[in-house]
């Protein structure tokens, strides 16, 4: 119990401190490295929230690809020496962010999330119907002769089941988006002519 609390507060300190560093530090290169540490800390939060797959995805994509791309971009644009000066909007920006933060904290504290989620309960039958194609539950699987280990591994595959099942259209659309972004990035960076 207290171990989880300690891990949470340590990760929170790393994440918030790193995020503050990203926006306040003058050296762009350090900002990118700090952002990578924030990504790792956020991956730790994902593990705490039982989203192990997303934690791995977070490390692979954010730390492995996006952070490296940031460093690459910073090196290519040679802005390291000139640093990362704030613009003239610092005070209004701070006020706006503080106001939004206050509004979000107020909403998070005053809203009763479990009741809000339960408000959809009258649609439960309908939801059950639309998700009828989901994975069979544990008792059915043991009846079908699977070992306890296999049952557990099937239960953990709910994400993949949803991704290829109910969410297959966004899944395909996002692959198209990635293709378009890759081609667009190439065309933009290459420039016209040649």
């Amino acid at each position: 119990m207290w171990f989880e609390q300690i891990v949470f507060w340590a990760l929170a300190a790393v994440a918030i401190g790193g995020a503050l560093g990203v926006v306040l530090v003058r050296d762009l290169f350090r900002a990118a490295l700090l952002l990578a540490t924030v990504f790792v800390a956020v991956g730790g939060f994902y593990v705490m929230m039982n989203a192990e797959f997303l934690a791995v995805v977070q490390i692979l994509i954010y730390v492995g690809a996006i952070a490296v791309l940031f460093i690459f971009g910073i090196m290519l644009t040679r802005d390291v020496q000139r640093g990362n000066a704030p613009n003239r909007l610092q005070i209004p920006a701070g006020v706006i962010s503080a106001l939004l933060l206050a509004a979000m904290v107020f909403t998070a504290v005053t809203t009763d999330w479990t009741t809000l989620a339960g408000a959809g309960r009258e649609n439960q039958a309908q939801i059950a119907q639309t998700q009828a194609v989901g994975i069979p539950d544990a008792t059915e699987l043991t009846r079908a002769g699977l070992s306890a280990e296999e049952v557990e591994s099937v239960a953990g595959s709910g994400l993949a089941d949803l991704l290829i099942g109910d969410f297959v259209l966004p899944f395909e659309a996002v692959s198209l988006l990635l293709l378009a972004a890759a081609i667009g990035g190439l065309a933009l960076a290459r420039g016209r002519g040649r």
């Binding site: 997303l54 791309l69 909007l89 962010s97 939004l100 649609n123 996002v174 972004a181």
Partner: protein, 106 residues
């Protein structure tokens, strides 16, 4: 277990910091960095909802995680495109400070 509220407050804090960075910095690269911070804050919220409100009413298992996967994918695409634009910007104008890029201003 750590209460859901903690994760929501953490997400809110990261989002606020990211918003400040996106508004108050000059470098286009740092604006993209701050946008990534905000996307991460949103992902924390989504996954916290998926994990804590799982099975209550409309929150079916894994729904929040699915949305987080799409957010991560779109973020990757966005960073790739943004850097292509920043590289063009640097090559054409010699700077990536957004307040010096004012060719749309009259």
């Amino acid at each position: 277990m750590v209460p859901l509220l903690y994760f929501q407050l953490l997400g809110a804090a990261l989002f606020g910091i990211g918003l400040y960075g996106a508004l108050a910095r000059r470098s286009a690269v740092l604006i993209i960095l701050s946008i990534e911070l905000m996307l991460n804050a949103v992902n924390i919220n989504l996954i916290a909802a998926a994990s804590y409100l799982n099975g209550i009413g409309r929150f079916a298992a894994f729904d929040g995680q699915i949305i987080a996967i799409f957010v991560i994918t779109v973020a990757a695409a966005e960073v790739g495109l943004a850097f292509a634009i920043i590289l063009r910007m640097y090559r054409n104008r010699g700077t990536i400070n957004v307040d010096e890029i004012n060719i749309l201003k009259w």
